[in-house]
């Protein structure tokens, strides 16, 4: 990562946090950003959980990268998640690289970056680390918690840990348990990073020779999984990149090659390779059903939270089946649940781009639930 993290909002979590791996951490920073205004009754707060490669800068201009926030399509003035109406909070995950406690932070013991000495974390650790943020804003109950992909996993974990902290919840294109294919794809990304000699067992911070190539390949592979076969074909097909014919070399002849290389290159500027290892590992360890004796059903027993589960028809990374399993568990436990599968060619990325059917559904759910929440005694 090339950017310097300066002037980001942070809280220091002073309460000791016992991690799933057995270690305890305390006095660590969690970086966050907010949008909109918290109203007097504090009933318009929405907590957003970001995905693997996301950060706290949900919308507007990301002050670190100077690019648009990752969920600008959904969050903003007059958007589905309207910042004129709602107060949006998003934290950078534990293990991340945008100001929260992560592997590039300095270890007080020896003054060096943690690297692989950073403890291996889980989705549950990530969620527990963020909980102090609600205390910080003195919010008793959120109007809604939102999250796509890994954000949805955090959200399910959040609901299971704190049954009464949110009125409604929308896990999008997510899963309650990482499956073999999802673990396999994460492993592919990690091996790409670790195969880069510059990775150097995680010690690359000192002379800033970062494992760019490895991280870029990891990102390229991941990017393919975020799109659908049909979406790729329609956008790129066999189109050539600014040339009339094949060049009979291994340069990027095809547009899709050029596109992936570009995605890989811009990613290494804003993301830390070790963070990628740690966060992807947390996803792989995620299996909410394992935390309860009677499985997933027990996770949501007697919950009052109003759930909306959303999946996308062309998402093969977190397919509808994963979402339906959550719906089935929620129904079996008598929870309040709505579910919609959005018909689209945009694959897993559908939740990040302008997908009107999805955005309208999200907006309708939020606005109607805000009315119900406001009138609740």
């Amino acid at each position: 990562m090339n950017y310097k993290i300066e002037n980001v909002k942070q809280i220091t979590v002073t309460k000791p946090l016992k991690l799933d791996c057995g270690q305890t951490i305390k006095d660590f920073p969690i970086a966050y950003e907010t949008y909109g205004t918290l109203n007097e009754k504090k009933n318009n707060a929405i907590l957003v959980f970001h995905a693997l490669s996301g950060d706290q800068f949900v919308t507007g201009t990301n002050p670190i990268t100077n690019k648009a926030g990752w969920w600008s399509a959904a969050v903003g003035v007059g958007k589905a998640v309207d910042t004129e109406k709602y107060f949006i909070i998003c934290a950078n995950v534990l293990g991340g690289c945008m100001g929260s406690f992560g592997p590039k932070n300095l270890n007080i013991k020896d003054g060096n970056p943690y690297g692989l000495k950073f403890p291996v974390i889980t989705i549950r650790d990530i969620v527990r680390a963020q909980e102090s943020l609600l205390e910080h804003f003195k919010i008793k109950k959120l109007l809604c918690a939102l999250g796509g992909s890994m954000g949805g996993m955090q959200l399910l974990q959040f609901c299971a840990l704190y049954p009464n902290k949110t009125f409604s919840a929308v896990p999008i294109a997510s899963t309650a348990s990482h499956n073999a294919q999802q673990i396999a794809l994460n492993e592919l990304a990690r091996q790409a990073i670790m195969a880069d000699p510059l990775w150097n067992k995680g010690n690359y911070y000192k002379d800033n020779k970062i494992p760019k190539n490895g991280l870029a390949v990891a990102r390229m592979a991941a990017h393919i999984t975020y799109m659908s076969d049909k979406g790729l074909q329609e956008r790129f097909g066999r189109k050539l990149q600014e040339k009339k014919d094949y060049e009979f070399t291994f340069d990027a002849d095809f547009q899709i090659e050029s596109y992936l290389r570009h995605q890989g290159n811009v990613f290494v500027d804003r993301f830390d390779a070790n963070s990628y290892l740690y966060i992807s590992r947390a996803m792989d360890y995620f299996d909410l059903s394992k935390q309860f004796k009677n499985g997933l059903v027990e996770a949501f027993q007697n919950h009052k939270t109003r759930f909306l589960i959303i999946s996308f028809s062309s998402d093969w990374l977190y397919p509808t089946k994963n979402s339906k399993d959550i719906v089935i568990a929620l129904n079996a436990s008598g929870a309040n649940v709505a579910f919609a599968e959005i018909e689209t060619d945009k694959g897993h990325d559908s939740f990040l781009v302008n997908e009107p059917e999805f955005l309208e559904t999200l907006k309708g759910f939020l606005d109607s639930n805000f009315e119900i929440f406001k009138n609740e005694k």
Binding site: N331, A338, E341, T361, G364
Partner: protein, 197 residues
């Protein structure tokens, strides 16, 4: 709101737990919440209708009742409603068994194939009937298993399903149906509503 829904709203006690199977755009669910403070869930096949329901704040899941009712535990609901949809399933008997499993009671309405207009259409004109409650033509109807009020009544008796109440609807008029007036009501009612358990 159509007469059938008004009758169903009246049949249900306040604060019960209800599942509306094939809930469409959620008109009935809204009425139940508003008038009876009922905790209602819905299941609907069509994405656009599911979206409408969700936008109204209704807890509706997109799914196929033919295959997806198994996710609900036994007696999860006080009432399960199936409005004029039974005839469109591939295996109506299986669906009915599922409804009776997940609901303590089931409210089921059927477009009556024994209605006089239906009978005369076939008898006098030799054509498949098109009426207010059977608006589709033979080649585009979703209905696979049409039955009459009498058919369904006898079916319940055969399968030892308890019939708590039967109501016939003819335009705005409603009437109670029992063993004695079954023949006549089967002729005069456009729609039949059964409360069974």
């Amino acid at each position: 709101m159509k007469n059938e829904f008004k009758i169903i709203v009246n049949l249900l006690p306040i604060q019960s737990r209800v599942l509306d199977v094939g809930c469409g755009d959620g008109t009935l669910i809204e009425a139940l919440i508003k008038q009876k403070n009922i905790d209602v869930r819905g299941i609907e096949l069509e994405e656009s209708k599911v979206k409408q329901c969700i936008s109204k704040g209704l807890s509706v899941i997109q799914g196929n009742a033919e295959t997806e009712l198994s996710q609900f535990p036994d007696k999860a609901f006080d009432f399960v409603i199936l409005s004029q949809t039974l005839q469109a399933f591939y295996q109506p008997e299986n669906v009915l068994n599922e409804l009776l499993r997940i609901g303590k009671k089931v409210i089921i309405s059927i477009p009556n194939f024994g209605y006089w207009q239906v009978r005369t259409s076939l008898l006098l004109f030799g054509k498949m009937p098109v009426t207010k409650s059977l608006p589709d033509t033979w080649y585009n109807t979703p209905n696979l298993h049409m039955c009459s009020i009498k058919d369904f009544y006898q079916f319940c008796e055969e399968k030892k399903i308890k019939i708590d109440r039967v109501i016939g609807i003819n335009n705005e008029k409603t009437s109670s149906i029992n063993r004695i007036n079954l023949e006549m009501k089967n002729f005069l009612s456009e729609v039949g509503i059964f409360l069974i358990s």
